[in-house]
Structure formats: structure tokens, C-alpha cells
Symmetry: C3
Subunit: 451 residues, 3 copies
Amino acid sequence: MRKFIKFSLVASVLAGMGILAMGEANAAVDTETAFVFNTFSFLVHGVLVMLMAAGFAMLESGLVRAKNTATICMKNIALYSIAGLMYYLIGYALMYTDVDGGWIGAFDFLYNPATSELALLNAADAGKEAANAALLKDSSYSSMSDWFFQMVFVATAASIVSGTLAERIKVWPFLIFVVVLTGIIYPIQGSWVWGAGWLSEMGFSDFAGSTLVHSTGGWAALAGAIVLGARKGKFGPNGEVNPMPGANLPLATLGTFILWFGWFGFNGGSQLALGSAADAAAIAIVYVNTNLAAAAGVIVAMILTQIMFKKMDLTLCLNGAIGGLVAITAGPDLQNHAYAILIGGIGGALVVIAVPLVDKIKVDDVVGAISAHLVAGIWGTLAVGIFGSGSIVTQFIGIVTIGAFVFVSSLIVWMILKATIGIRVGEEEEMTGLDKSELGMEAYPEFGRGS
Amino acid sequence: MRKFIKFSLVASVLAGMGILAMGEANAAVDTETAFVFNTFSFLVHGVLVMLMAAGFAMLESGLVRAKNTATICMKNIALYSIAGLMYYLIGYALMYTDVDGGWIGAFDFLYNPATSELALLNAADAGKEAANAALLKDSSYSSMSDWFFQMVFVATAASIVSGTLAERIKVWPFLIFVVVLTGIIYPIQGSWVWGAGWLSEMGFSDFAGSTLVHSTGGWAALAGAIVLGARKGKFGPNGEVNPMPGANLPLATLGTFILWFGWFGFNGGSQLALGSAADAAAIAIVYVNTNLAAAAGVIVAMILTQIMFKKMDLTLCLNGAIGGLVAITAGPDLQNHAYAILIGGIGGALVVIAVPLVDKIKVDDVVGAISAHLVAGIWGTLAVGIFGSGSIVTQFIGIVTIGAFVFVSSLIVWMILKATIGIRVGEEEEMTGLDKSELGMEAYPEFGRGS
Amino acid sequence: MRKFIKFSLVASVLAGMGILAMGEANAAVDTETAFVFNTFSFLVHGVLVMLMAAGFAMLESGLVRAKNTATICMKNIALYSIAGLMYYLIGYALMYTDVDGGWIGAFDFLYNPATSELALLNAADAGKEAANAALLKDSSYSSMSDWFFQMVFVATAASIVSGTLAERIKVWPFLIFVVVLTGIIYPIQGSWVWGAGWLSEMGFSDFAGSTLVHSTGGWAALAGAIVLGARKGKFGPNGEVNPMPGANLPLATLGTFILWFGWFGFNGGSQLALGSAADAAAIAIVYVNTNLAAAAGVIVAMILTQIMFKKMDLTLCLNGAIGGLVAITAGPDLQNHAYAILIGGIGGALVVIAVPLVDKIKVDDVVGAISAHLVAGIWGTLAVGIFGSGSIVTQFIGIVTIGAFVFVSSLIVWMILKATIGIRVGEEEEMTGLDKSELGMEAYPEFGRGS
């Protein structure tokens, strides 16, 4: 419903006051101006989200060891590219076309501009006025601006998987998984909610994707981590968890800041309209909640790690910011900002608590993505039932059904990949580092190595 | 006055032509469209400024030694988080609520959306038209978009302090200072000018904060550097100044470019409105002056360092860009762009001259922030009295009173912190590096170390 | 014609429906709102392009060896600064003023805001309405917003040169070349097309600058590489090509992502208007083509390098993204997005094929810029004649004439510089690294060095 409900706000305001108000001082936004605003909001907010691909690349580059850094860079630029192509080829149609009430969209190929837009762009001068009117009657935003905005979301989901599985997965099998995730798995579950499918009809609410994007990425990562197994030496025979610290923490910090920056596009653009004062005010509220939740996630992680480990932990605090951001993503439209602090703070706390628990069950998540995206995503989705307008039962149903679908289907794909082409590099390759074995290069050829 | 004066431009244009023009070809922007433009300008420009937090983090990460890099990252994400929370809890109200003519705003807690906005967002369909009209009568922008934009400014002021005090300050005491700076000191001095307080009534002019943001950060940093003392070994017994070069100059370069990028939001958004052709044209002028001043700062720093040291100095040239940017910030609305080159060029020159002078008085400023933000900020504020519309006497009064208030109150806070919990790590910790002692980790665990 | 043609779309729509539609539900964007949209599009898209300066700086920092990294940072911030100043001093006027039909613009100095804008900004309240009307009659966007947008393009052209010539060129001679390139060479060839000069009259089409920006940068780089010669040891006596791998691949990856991010501004803003539904829809189409072309460039480079070298090559895949982006830049307004995939994919393939060919002819291009910008730029410009609205013959004429002009004039400048002040560091300096000899510093003083 992400696509349709929000616009009704604009529509009703315009319907209520449009014509009459036109001649008055307190005039409403006219329909063409609203079209431009809505389209520009998709584009500007979408381009902010696009930079999150760089954020994930830097976060993950900073948190892996030097010998696996070029590979993680390769994976990140490749997955962003694949996501964009798959979503054009089949994903968008599967998610948004003819879904109403159902479980899946259409098997259409190649999503191209709307007919009414092309008619306007190609109209002779004499026909422009009529073509313009026809377009504005047809839609309140450009079709491809919406595609662009939705595309960067599927790329985000794929980015989440990349970090968890770092340092031992072969690149090509990983990328094949990304093809399936971005072309099929993500769009199908997305259609249930944002495509106006059955979960949306039931009232499930996920403003910008705590469940649809972040938990989905997290479930896919969890399935992969289980099938792939832990890095050699990560878990000792007597239950020890051996730290394998990241090689470049300023890059991880940069990545987190870039993610935070991009999140204003992620949540703000998910208002899906800018063409009225109501929409503009709503987006501003979303920005503020987004920032407060992230800030609270950091502060809580700082305090908790100080108490638990006697020292603040930078990596967990960075993940605390992400946990806060993920947690607020399902409901960043809360009208009392204090709740955003609470929700984000709990998101940050959950990350700090979940990271050692994930280790305890011997799931090797190199960058903490399962904690930051899946666990905080579940919390944020439930929080809409507690603090927002959603029903907690419906939220729970959505979390479970999407989780089950994404986890099981991902598990199947991972197992097929494992059984066929194999997904894991050899022991020696893992020891030497994936950069040498997978790419034949080094990320930092001149910087001396520690043990 | 930053909040109110600028809007009067829009208001007067709208008042003058709004209704009549509506039915004519040369129609003005209607009030709702202006509301959306103004709000979107705050958000888009605010999010650019938000990324400056990453810029400072990278600049400082690049300019400290490897052993203190994780700590500077920690401080930067923590201070941005604290600034956001404190400004929500008390800062914004102290700065902007009920200040007119006075010295301080209101002690209100938790700044939430305006009543008229919530009324619109929550109105039933039948009531939307009236609620929309009421909102547009009440305001020409969303309340929280303004909050967001002002919040990223206080975060910037806090970022400035971080770099100066690097490599020997304990993290928690630093963060407690940030709480006071962002929650109390910054908002109080800000209220004098942008909150329509006494300095604004006197005619003091600071478009985007050469004094209010940059010098304020610089004064707080100077006070801290005096109380904290220099790094062990920085100043020799016979007046030697021992260079302690930064570990990662491309990161410092990246940070400078990100700051430059964010500065278009910083200065451009400070027009505080986009809802008319006049505002749009004014913002464009601001962008151009901002870019030319920074460019001139770089070029002058290149030439000066070439002359003075026989080689260009990258670090000083990066700071030259910042000096140029800080200098133009008080008056980026100059209508002859050649003046921007002059002002920015002098800003760059002042940085190159001030950095060794600060060393000479044995103030240890790790990243040159006092020179780039305080010295260039004073110059830029005076320049408004020379080239712009301000009176140089009033500008001087503003510089001195704000400087005295921020410096003295910061000094008191630093001395209290020193006398109570202590602000400096032990000698051994300083030698080993703060990353080990404060965080128990390394920023670059695998990269070999020089001496 | 980039400046004028596009606006006619807005103008004709407005002329067709403006007044009449005003009182109707389906009202058009009014002229002042369109002015704001057009101006804001220039500014927002321009600031995205501005960040490409950081993208190039990081890409090049990552691809040079550690000992030359500070120098490449210095060059990048210096060239961006010089480009901005030169374009203000003389470049913009040479490119855009009084060119119609001709070969060069006006020798005017200092480009300042339009008279009608200053009249509005300085009007007394009583005169604002008339001044506003006069401005809107005069222009549909702010003069300086256009200047800002065009300025970041010339900076991009200069950035391209920097990487090719890295690791052996002296900084000052390089910067003198940048003065000539950005102040004279680039504006003259730019005037032929975007300044409505002879090539534009002939029908040559280059939407955002595959030829005008990217090939121009590439030709200047090629001329420089020939005059400068290869790095010591790059080409062995028996035709060996010795790899000299970059020191920091995550920075190169970051740079590529930032370039990709900025390219939405580069291509999207080149619609040159946002003030109508048609413009907004057109920009959305441009965004999508831009993203698909880059993605295809990456995927094709991945597959090709896997086939050719048995392993994917990260550096070539990063350059594949750039090749795809450059290729789509001449015609990102294609209405069938599948063509963008084809054009971008071929762009990526050309980069993979051209990089070893450039080596074979013993041109030492440190970062692959000639392949990614010149070769892919030629392809993209021709593609407009194949898939778009251009004539392939005219496209070819434009490629050849601009190429000849830029290459020959650059060659002359490089040869003059070589004959006078010299352009190359000494052998010993090259061995030690330019950071020591040119700047007296190290980029990474604490990170151990390999052989």
C-alpha cells in the first residue's frame, strides 16, 4: 500500500480545495506543481538512498580484515548493479503490478515509462496541452521516479546480506543469490505489503521497510550464514569466540555516517509525496524521528558497552546507530518525537545484546548485520503496533510470514548453490584471503600486515 | 533574526502580489507551494549539513596519528548524536522560543511539531481544507524542518571542538562538555542573534554563522586546549614545535571535500526560504560565493605555503578551503562575487598565518580548527561590516560579546571537569594511544606502524 | 544548445496553457514556481556533481601508490578550485555569451548575477512586484544557478586529466595546464555545442557531455601522457607491461560510488529545467538510464574480466561503471531503458578492451581515464546517432572536430610547459615518490611499505 495510500492524502486535499482555492490567497498546490514535487522527492530521496550502497561498502570494508577487502568492494558494486538490472527486468512488475489482494504481481518484463508520459514528451507543440492534461489525470508522479526510488530499496536489502557472509563466500555464488533475492524473493514479499497485497489488506504497516527491507536482508543473511558456516577459527572448540577485528575503522565510521545520511532519503522519501503542505510537514517529522532514533541508538550503545565491557566499543556503537535507524524505519511518522528516542534507543540496545547472542549460537556474522537489521527490524515493526497506528497482532503476523518466506526460500537457494557450484572458498584460500584467490589482487598491497 | 527576517521577504512579495497575480500569467508562487519549497529547502540543505559530521570525522581521522583514530571516530559519532538529543530536549527552545529582545529563550522541554501541523495531519477528510488553510495562515514552513536545519548547525559547532583536543582527552569528559555546549552555551549565544535577541536588535549580522557556529566552536576548543594542555612532546623545552603528522591524508582530503559539499547546505539553506524567485536567486548567489571563497582559500594557501615553506602543504591547503568557507559564511549573500574571492582568499591566508602562531603560544590544536574556524570566523564576521550591509562596530561588538561568553563559560566547564573527573588520559595511555586505553581496540590493527 | 533548447519545452507548455489553465483544476505550473523549480534543480543537481570532485580524488588516491597519494589529493583540490575561479573570471562568458552560430563567446570578465535579479533583490517593498514580474519575463531560472551547474562540469573535465598523469608530473605545471584547460580550451569547444555555436546548429547532440566533458578531459589527458612519457619501469624493454597496483582499493571503490551518485546530478540536471511535469518525467527517465547503464557497465566488465583473466578485476569493474556512465551521458533521455543497458554494457566492455590497448601503445594512463572517459565517450556520442535522435555523421563530425581541437591545443600547451618550466619530476624524485619531493610529506606516514 506504500504506493497508493499516501497519495490519497494529496488527492483528498486537492479534491477538497483545488479548484475553488485557485482564485484565493490561500491557494493549494496545483496538480502539475504537485506532480513535479512528488517526482522530485522520489529522485532526490532516491539518490540519497543510492549512496547507501557506498555506505555499506565502506562499513563492510572497514569491518573485514585487509586480505578480504577488495572482495567485499567487488561484491558491493556488483550487488548494487545486479539489483538495479533485476528490478528492471522482472522485480518491479512482480512487486507492484496487478497485485491487489494477492500474493504476487505480474510476470512482465522490462519496466519502461508510462504511456501518458511518453505521449507528452513526444507530443508536437500543438498537442502538448492535451497530453499534459492527460498525464496529470493519469498520475501524480513520474513512473520512472517511483521505479528509481523502489529500486534503491531492493539494493539495500541485498547489501545487508553481503557483510554477514564476508571473508569465506565465493563471489559468483553470492551474486547468483543476489539475482534471486532481488529479482524474485524481495519483490514477492514486497508485493504483500507495498504492492497492496494480502498483508496490506490485513492492515500490516511498515512505513519504509523495517521488515520489508531490513529484516528481509537479515533473514537472507541468516540463512546464508547457516548454510555457509563460520569462518575458520572464529569459534573455538570450547565455545570461545575469537575476535577478528576489522582492518579499517575510519572507513567503517564513514560508512555508518553515509548510511545515516542516506536514511533521510530512505524514510523521508517513503512519504511518497511532497505535493502538499501536509506531505511536506509529514516528511519533516520523519526526518526528525529518523535522526533522533539513530542518535538514541548510539548513546544507548555507548552506555551499554561501557557498562558491559568497561570500555565503549566503536563497532557496536556504529551498529547502534544502524539499529536505531532500522527500528524507526517501520514507523518514522510518529507525532511525538520522544517515542522515536525510545524506539531507537531500544534498537541500539538490542544490537549490543544480540551480537554476542548470535555468536553464542555459532552463527558467524562478520559485520553484525543480523543484529542490526533483522533483530532491530523486528523490534521496529512491533513498535508500530505499540506506539503507532498498527495492531501488534497484525504486525506479528507480518513479521512471521515474511520472515518464514524469506528465510525458507533463501535457505533453499543457498542449499542448491552449495550442492551444485559450491559457495565456500577452500581452507587455504580463506587463510590467504579472498582477495588473492577470488580476484588475484590486494586491497592494500603496500601496507604491512600484523599477525 | 535568522528565523524571521528572511521570511518577511517572501511574505512581502506574496502580500504584494499574491491574490491579484493569481489569475494572471505572471502568477506568484501560491502559499502552499511556498510552504513546500521552504520546508524542502530546510530538509535538503539540512541533510547536506548533516553529512558534514562525516566530513569532520574524516578530516580529523586523517589528521591524527593511527593510534588515536578509532577514538576520534567514536567522539564524532557520539557528539553528533548528543547534539541532536540535547537540541531536542532543551536547546532549540532556549535559542528560539520567546527570545525577542532578550538574552535567552524559554526553558521548554521536548520540541515537537506545531499544533496546526498535527491538526492538518490528523484531520478527517472533511476537515482537511480548513486545517490546511489554518496551517498556511500560521506558518510558511514546517516547524520540524526548521528544527532539523538548526540542529545540524549545533552539531557542526560541536564537531569543531573535537579535532583540536584530539590525542589526549578522555572521551567521556569530552562528551559531557558537548552536552553543555550543545544544550546550553550554543543555544544561549545563538538566541542573541538568530533568536531575535539583543545582538540582532542592534543590527549584528551573521548570515550562516561565521561567529555563531564556527567561532563559537573555535572559542570552546581554545578554552579546552588551554585547560587540557599540549600533547606530550609537541612543544620542546627550547621552543621547538615537533610535527606529529596525520596518519591518513586521503581521508583528510575526503573530509574537506565533504565539508565543502555540505557547506552549500549550510550557507544556501540559511536563506531560510525558497518559496519565491527572489529567494531562489538569492540562494544561487550564496552557492556561488561559497564556492568561490573556498576555491580562493585553497589557491591562496597553495601560493603562501609555496612561498613560506618552498613546498605546498596539503594539510594547510585543506584548512585553507575551510578558512575560505568559514570566512564567507557570515555574508555569502554579497552581490558581487569578486568580493567572495577576496574574503575567502584572506580567510585562507589567515589560516596559513595563524597555524604557526597558535603553535607559538603553545596551544596544541591537532587539526588547526582554531585557525580555520575561530580566526577565519572573526574575519568573515568583520567582512560583513566592510563589504556587506553590516556596521563594523556592531560586528565587532558581536564578535567580542559572543567570544567572551563562549570562551569564559567553556573555560569554566572545562575547569570543573578537570577538577572533578579529570579530562586527560595518563602519560602512558597517551603514548600507547587512546584507542587502546579508551576503547580497547585499534583503528588499523593490520597496518604496520612507523616509529 | 544545452542552454536554450530545453527551456523551449517549458516555454511552449507554459505558453500553451499558462493563463487559461490557471483558473482550472488542471492548472499548469505558474512562471514563478517554474523559476524556483528550474533554479533549485540546477543547485541540487550541481551540488551532486560538485561531490564528484571528491569521487575523482578518492578514485585516484586509491589507484596510485602510497608514495604519490598526498600529491594526487593536492592536485584534486587545487584543480577544482582553479576550475571554479577560471570559469568565473573568463570561462563562462567564453562558452555562453554571444556565441550563436559562431566559434567562441565573449571576452567578458567576472560573471555576476543578472541585472533583473539584482533589481528584485534590492527593490524596496513597493517595487518588488514590478521587479519580480520583470525578472520572470527576463528569465526562467537564476543566472548564477546556471553558472554553478556549468562550473562543476568544467571541474569534472579537469579531474579526468589528473589521474592519467599521476605519479610523475610536477604539481605546478599540471595546475598551469588546468588554468588553460578550464579557462580557455574547455569553454571554446563547449561554446560550439552548448553555447549554441556551429556544431549545435549542425545538429550535433550531446545531452550531458560524453564528448564535451569526458572526451575533452580524455583528449587533454592523452596529449599530456604522450608529452610526459610513461612512469619509470612501467614498460619493460621487451614490451612487458609492469603492473603498479594502487595502494588503497576501498578508497577507489568509494570514489566510484561517489562518481555514480554525482552522475545523477550530471545527467539529471542537464535536462536544464524542472518547471513542468514533462521536465520532471524526463529527468526521471534520465536517472533510470544513468543507473542502468552504469550497472550494465559493471556486469559486463565482471563477465569479461572473468573470461579474459579467469578472475574478476575490481579496478576494471570500477572503471566499467564509469565507462557505462560516460557512454550514456550523451543520450540519457532514451525512452526505452533497454537501450541504456546496451549502451552502458558496451561502454563497460570498451573500457576492459581499451585499457590493455592503451598500455600496448605505451601510453601510461595510471587510472584508466583515457579508456573510461575518452573511448567510452566517443562510443556514447556515436550511440546517440544510432539509438537516439542524432545523425551519426554529425555526431562523428563533432567527435572529430572537438577531439582535434582539444588534443592539438592541449598538446601545444603541454609542449610549451615541457620546454619552459618542465613538467616531469626527476628520476630520483619519482622513485622516492612525489609526496616527499613535491610536498615534503607522506600520505600514510605510519603504514609500513611493501617492496
